[in-house]
Amino acid sequence: MHRKMVWACGLVLLMVICPRASAADSLPPANRWISPEAIFVVEVSQPEALLDLAFDPKMIEAVASLPAYQKQAEQPGFRQFLQVVRFLEMTLDTPWPTGVRKLVGGGVTLAASADGGALLIVDAQDAQMLQRLHEILLGFAKNQAEKQEQPGRVASEEYRGATCWTFGGDEAHAILGNRLLLANRSEVLKAALDLRAKPDGQSLASSPAYQNARAALSGDMVASAFVNLQPLKQHPPVKDLLTQSSSNPLATLLLAGVTEALRDSSWLAVGLDVEEDTLSLSAVVDGKAGGENSPAAFALPSRDAEGALPNLAVPRRIAAASLYRDLHRFYAAKDDLFPERTSGLIFFENMMGIFFSGMDLTEEVFGETRPEIRVVVAEQDYDSAVGTPQVQFPAFAAVFHLERPAEFAEVVEEAWQKAVGLINFTRGQQAQPGLIIDRPVHSGTKFTVAYFRSPKDADRTNVDARFNFRPALATEGEYLIFSSTEGLAGDLIDALKKEQAGTPKPLAETHSLVELDGAGLLSILAANRENLIRQNMLEEGNTQAEAETQIDLILAVLKYLDEAKLSVGSREGRPQANLKLKLDLP
């Protein structure tokens, strides 16, 4: 156990090392030593940036304050690990963070091929330190091998002018100047040494797919990954996933051809950037972003200046999404997109038929909407006169952009009131209380709300779950708001007034933008902590204590998330996605 631990630490250290030594300058980039057959390659070209974040005192404090970390720190294995770290600090005569920087600072590259071969290339900043560490580990490995009466386990051989080592099993590695090569098989190591010997040979660096993928990422990345999708797509589970035609209309609408794009792509490139407390991941594939006749076409801006609008800001927001989806075009293509007739779809059509008095759903209803759709989820304030439900749902709302608001807003109003009437009728049949319709005014805008009578003599801290809802319909300028609560409808009226005071500018190259607000998410989860714990107990079979630990870990980690932003769209005809995580460290 102990021996494995030391090795693991040593190798991790080696993995993360690099060169200030002169030898470094003479070595070609690591990707020239990697076979073009590699299907998965990760390159950390600026380890410093990641190490800065990892060794940032704020990050250390954040991690150290996690309950899960504190629990882990009490384990004997963890104490052993710290001993090893201390031992290495002493022997290498350098503090741990500095040591790691010196050992991996020149860059780290990991490559895997379809046959299971894996190669790790680490460039140290300090070649001497790398050598010293290797000597220490070598001595240690030899010692252990002898103790276990297998002295032959640790061995070396010369190959193309390099010394190839193994500490046992299939592991193989070599050190060339400031560079460490570590492979899970000796053939993999030798193949890399072959490429080193033939600088003009076919390597990853010379593969066109790799070159295109690199070029698709914007310049200076902290780290990047390249995935060759061709072999991956032959892998049965992936294949099934990509070929399954979605029978769920909502999923089709949301994904907007993403699976289709993956199906058509030969590579995926991912880049990582770090700036202060923000991590940005961007992904690009080479498939087409969807042609005229593709099912994804309904998410492609038909005019240049169009695209998803910026999200709406409301108080206590949890999440927001902004989509560019041509519902008219989407629904007109429904026979091709999802040929099955699920009970849900038929029910939807029947209801819409009633609400819109038999109007043609595609032409006369969806045809009245513009493709800019926004969704907002926010925590709600409960009216103290009504009370707080035990299970708290956030408020949610959808905002549609109308072609002809003056003509269509009343049609929707009529449909909405019919829906409330139908709900009331059905609830009445089940002897349940119904909704009362009201027309309040907010910031000068008159809108419609339906609410439940507040209960008499109820425990105000635990009212029925229906009091999570106070559905509202409002029109503000060209926009139509469907909200689950009156409060959120009011906030959206304000937000839209503010937005329309200027001119909202569509986001470039984006058809979907999803934003999560850490604080709001944390707050709603914390409000439902008890329920989450109980659900965890039933679903995972955990004890109450285990469930509390798991849920509290999620809550604790969320505390450090300021904001997450995922945008999907296309650039130069290629589908791309960007994820930005803004951390909020203590």
């Binding site: 026979d335 099955e340 009970s343 779809l345 029910f347 038999g358 759903l361």
Partner: protein
């Protein structure tokens, strides 16, 4: 046949006789019991029931294209003479049912027209319950008609599985039993033993003839279960005909594979239209939606029939469809139709007699705005039970109903 088999198993499970003979005999018996099982079930008839939830518009399924009243009442939904697949000079299949037209011409499809029941229920759940229990207007009826047939065919001690549901939704109430446990099959994998934890190996080596009849029962059952698992595996790996990538077709493909595995399952229940209220409930925009469902029905059933025919199994299989009600003759203002009453029932199989059974109900005398029934659905059930499955229909339906002369002897 069943009596003999039951007696046979009773003997093999009987404690005293076997105990006294020592271990050699039970081993021989168990081998023969295992080997005999498939042959014993060979050649039995099989019923496949397709539930179509939502209330199928029979009028636009089997279309009276020459009827003026039809044209008048269906201004936007009607199908014209040139669009339908003509059955005769009056009736035709919906334009998207070309596969049913072919089956009909090949003699593998019959249409029983005007099927319904007195005082039909206009509510989905209640009407569906009526068809499922075969006890109309008895909401507290505890079992489904197929469930009662399964209980009837289920012999404790044999561990047989007379009926199963194949599909992705919750098991329909038609299969609700008082005694037997009816499996719901989503895929063939769940019907096979996980190889790693397959204890039938050791179980197979255990002796029968224990003085505990329950233990003997379980040992024999474990062996048959193991053999079933093997057979299903073989059937799953055997080639089948092409089935379209539609849910009903995939369910029927599974049914065909289970039929080939010869497990002694006599009743298969599957469905189209999903959970309530159901896909056939076309109150609005009926044209495209109804067509898509009928296309799925006819393509799926045709693939199933062709598949079975290829393996000469079709003569043993009868498929019937049902829906809780038909729809109103008049269309509503939303290009849809309301809840009606009578509608046609389809039969598919290899031993059908007569293709068009009963008259197309008139469009002038209506009930609940739909066509009036002339054939009680329980007559169809009685026919299937008495004349196809060889079960006593009056015991299962609780009453004697006249059967229809639609099956070859």
């Amino acid at each position: 046949m069943f009596t003999t088999r039951r007696d046979f198993l009773k003997t093999s499970l009987g404690t005293s006789a076997l105990c006294s003979l020592g271990p050699a005999v039970p081993a021989f018996l168990s081998r023969s019991a295992l080997a005999a099982a498939p042959r014993q079930d060979d050649g039995h008839t099989i019923l496949v029931v397709v539930q179509m939830a939502g209330g199928n518009d029979g009028l636009n399924t089997v279309v009276p294209y020459e009827d003026d009243e039809y044209a008048r009442r269906r201004p936007t939904l009607r199908w014209a003479a040139k669009e339908v697949h003509k059955i005769d000079s009056l009736l035709g299949f919906h334009p998207r049912m070309q596969a049913f037209m072919r089956l009909y011409q090949e003699g593998h499809l019959s249409i029983v027209q005007g099927v319904g029941y007195p005082n039909p229920n206009g509510d989905h759940a209640a009407a569906m319950r009526d068809w499922q229990t075969a006890r109309p207007h008895q909401p507290d009826c505890q079992t489904g008609w197929l469930g009662r047939a399964i209980d009837h065919a289920c012999h404790p001690g044999e561990a047989n599985t007379p009926g199963v549901f194949v599909g992705q939704i919750a098991q329909p109430f038609g299969l609700n039993t008082e005694k037997a446990v009816v499996p719901s099959i989503k895929n063939l994998e769940q019907c096979m033993l996980t190889p790693e934890f397959d204890s039938a190996g050791p179980a197979q080596r255990t002796r029968t003839g224990d003085d505990n009849p329950l233990l003997d029962f379980l040992r024999l059952s474990a062996r048959t279960a193991h053999a079933d698992s093997r057979r299903i595996e073989a059937a799953a790996n055997a080639p089948t005909a092409e089935y379209p990538p539609l849910p009903l077709a995939q369910s029927l493909k599974t049914v065909a594979q289970l039929i080939r595995a010869e497990l002694g399952i006599r009743i298969f229940h599957t469905e189209l239209g999903g959970n309530g209220p159901g896909g056939f409930d076309n109150h609005a925009n009926q044209r495209g939606n109804h067509g898509a469902l009928l296309s799925q029905l006819s393509e799926s059933v045709a693939a199933f029939v062709d598949d079975l025919k290829r393996d000469k199994l079709l003569d043993r299989v009868l498929l019937i469809t049902f829906s809780e009600f038909g729809r109103t003759v008049a269309e509503n203002g939303r290009h849809g139709t309301g809840h009606g009453s009578a509608a046609p029932v389809f039969l598919a199989g290899g031993r059908l007699k007569g293709r068009l059974i009963g008259a197309h109900p008139a469009l002038t005398e209506l009930e609940n705005g739909g066509q009036k029934f002339h054939t009680d659905f329980r007559r169809v059930y009685a026919t299937v039970l008495d004349r196809w499955l060889g079960m006593d229909s009056s015991a299962i339906l609780g009453e004697k109903f006249d059967t229809l002369d639609v099956l070859e002897a």
